[in-house]
Subunit: 392 residues, 2 copies
């Protein structure tokens, strides 16, 4: 079991890491005082590698800062910087059709638009968290309206063209119910609208019914519209870090519903399966991909160790331990924590490397790009700190 | 220098590898006698991993077989199997707008269509090589017509939607002049039409003028319409194996034009730069990506060792040696050959692994997928065998 002393040390590790290492790495470096918004493509020492901006990160960065403002300390700088992201989104990140871009130039001119709704999801959680901090009802409404627009886009055939010819082989991805689940959870903190609980329930049901495969003891990334299993590279693909993340989103819902037993069972089952399939018994750490049938993966970099699956595994096992008291989760939390802290932190310039080879050696020294920035690591540090405070 | 004995051993290595190892790995396993065409997603031992078909490989496979028929031996099976690919292309691989799909199901139903012209390019070279072997003027015409259609699609704004918002940052890729160059070279063997030489000249000029960057001693993958350098991850990206391939396409043109001096200079310069930038001084082998300014690469798997850049490096250095007699190229050919043959061949089931970690260990044991099949390795074995016969 986790002793009080261990809990104290872990709490300090996450809290101090967030406040004294992660935050000062990104701020002020990432903040674009000239054009607004955030630049996340930073080298090991924080030097800018490119100034193109990730739309995801305008929302993610702003969400994390507003959340810290709302839950940690009312530091005016944090709320002001969250607004810096939101203002940039308002001004530059929407296309004329109401959908959002994926990347823009430093000045905010559009570069890429993709066929997904993740830019919108991260904007929604930023708006919701900011609305709470700033007591801003306009932003609340904006967040809810954008959420409804996302649902409209997802539920209206033809608005988001599929990657695969849908007539031949209709497919759907786990990422959609997952992002809807967590977005609705964040939106619900700001907006009392029944749509949040509806979407949360619907998303959990859909994930459980269509993506969980007891015959393989895993959660698939891609299935048919009714959960059909396709025996192809894509159809067999598992991303253990991603499904571990789904597991803790469900456990978080269990926590908020007074330790809901059914949700605890579901969430821990997902975490158990995914940790079992994803943990590398040879080198330690969590493999990026696995094949449900144990066949070779299609992605040649499948066995790399990315930072974020380890963030998710640390959160998921700590939360599972908090909700169940099962020491298996304390042990696995320690296992994931120890491997991650032995391999990812940069002893020279702080923060974490993002991409390691299977054996744990660093594959690239950059600290940020369009996918890595001020999000997964600080979210883990903040969330685990909160849980450990509750547990103390 | 390369001694007669070395030449003889190399010739046997390539010839016997092709005839006794590579060919029997893929044939008959890949041949779909039920639905036609070729299945390339094979496991280490040749077991099928998925039956979805790569449209690229219907053309590539057919081209390689028809080329062997035309240049090695008039084996009826080879021409008949080439026709098996071409028939499948005819029946299943064209969309109603005249463009081709990227992947289809085993039965030939469309799965994916992409915004590029590579499916078409591989179909053209297959048609051209088959036309020669079968003395089939209809196929000659079909190849030329399809080539003209590709040029029309490339040269008509709006027909192939760009990935990046073209108004903000217009970009073009090295792959387009490269594929046009080699496609026109193959088409020219079957069709006497001035368009082949025109496109060959235009493509070499464009590559030299817009993609070669003496200030970085490299060939960029992506530039602006007039060769503008963009100081971003994409703009700085170099793929040494890809530019080495460009180098030998140009040297091949020099060879066919009676050792054209200007083309030899250009091709060897490209090979020198790319080999210098791509060779891994720590572990050996050719790194997949490099950054023109030496900054971290955006692709986290940038330092993996793929099979095909090694195929290209072995061809390029052998051909450079044949054309210049410079022993530097004999040495580099040996260097690339030795590293590749020490790491890629599968001692158990034959053929080559495709994807190694930076240190040369195998990252995935599969032998084929939608990108790896009967193409780069047999092309190297066949082409080097031909060159060594000339040199003997």
């Amino acid at each position: 079991m986790m002793s009080p002393d261990e809990k104290k040390k872990l709490l300090e590790c996450y809290r101090d890491g967030l406040l004294n290492d992660t935050l000062p790495f990104w701020i002020p470096r990432s903040v674009d005082r000239e054009y607004g918004g955030f630049i996340t493509s930073l080298d090991r020492d924080g030097a800018i590698l490119q100034t193109d901006k990730s739309v995801w990160f305008q929302g993610r960065f702003a969400w994390m800062l507003a959340t810290l403002y709302n839950t940690v300390e009312k530091k005016a700088e944090w709320l002001e910087l969250a607004r810096n992201g939101i203002d940039f989104i308002d001004r530059h990140c929407f296309d004329e059709d109401g959908r959002m871009f994926f990347s823009v130039t430093r000045e905010g001119k559009p570069l890429r638009k993709r066929r997904y709704i993740f830019s919108e999801a991260f904007a929604i959680i930023a708006l919701a968290a900011y609305a709470i901090g700033a007591h801003d009802d306009e932003r609340r409404k904006q967040a809810l309206d954008l959420f409804k627009r996302v649902l409209h886009h997802l539920d209206t055939p033809g608005l988001l063209p599929p990657k695969t010819c849908a007539e031949t082989r209709p497919m759907k991805g786990l990422a959609v119910p997952m992002i809807l689940l967590v977005t609705a959870q964040e939106l619900r903190k700001a907006v009392k609208d029944p749509i949040c609980d509806q979407i949360i329930n619907r998303s959990i049901l859909e994930a459980e019914r269509d993506f969980l495969k007891p015959e393989f003891k895993c959660v698939l990334e891609t299935v048919g519209p009714q959960g059909e299993f396709y025996d192809t590279f894509d159809g067999r693909m598992v991303c253990p870090g991603h499904s571990i993340e789904l597991g803790w989103f469900i456990l978080e819902e269990a926590r908020l519903r007074g330790k809901d037993r059914r949700l605890i069972e579901l969430g821990t089952k997902i975490i158990d399966w995914s940790f079992e399939m994803g943990w590398d018994r040879e080198y330690g750490g969590i493999l990026y991909h696995a094949d449900a049938r144990g066949l070779p993966c299609a992605e040649y970099w499948h066995d790399m160790k990315f930072w974020w699956p380890h963030n998710e595994a640390i959160i998921a096992n700590l939360l599972a331990y908090q909700l169940t008291g099962d020491e298996k989760y304390a042990r696995r939390h320690r296992q994931a924590h120890d491997w991650a802290y032995a391999h990812f932190p940069d002893p020279l310039h702080g923060e974490w490397f993002g991409y390691l080879h299977r054996d744990g050696s660093v594959a690239t020294t950059l600290k940020g790009n369009l996918w890595k920035g001020f999000f997964h690591l600080p979210r883990m540090q903040w969330y685990c700190w909160q849980r450990l405070e509750e547990m103390s």
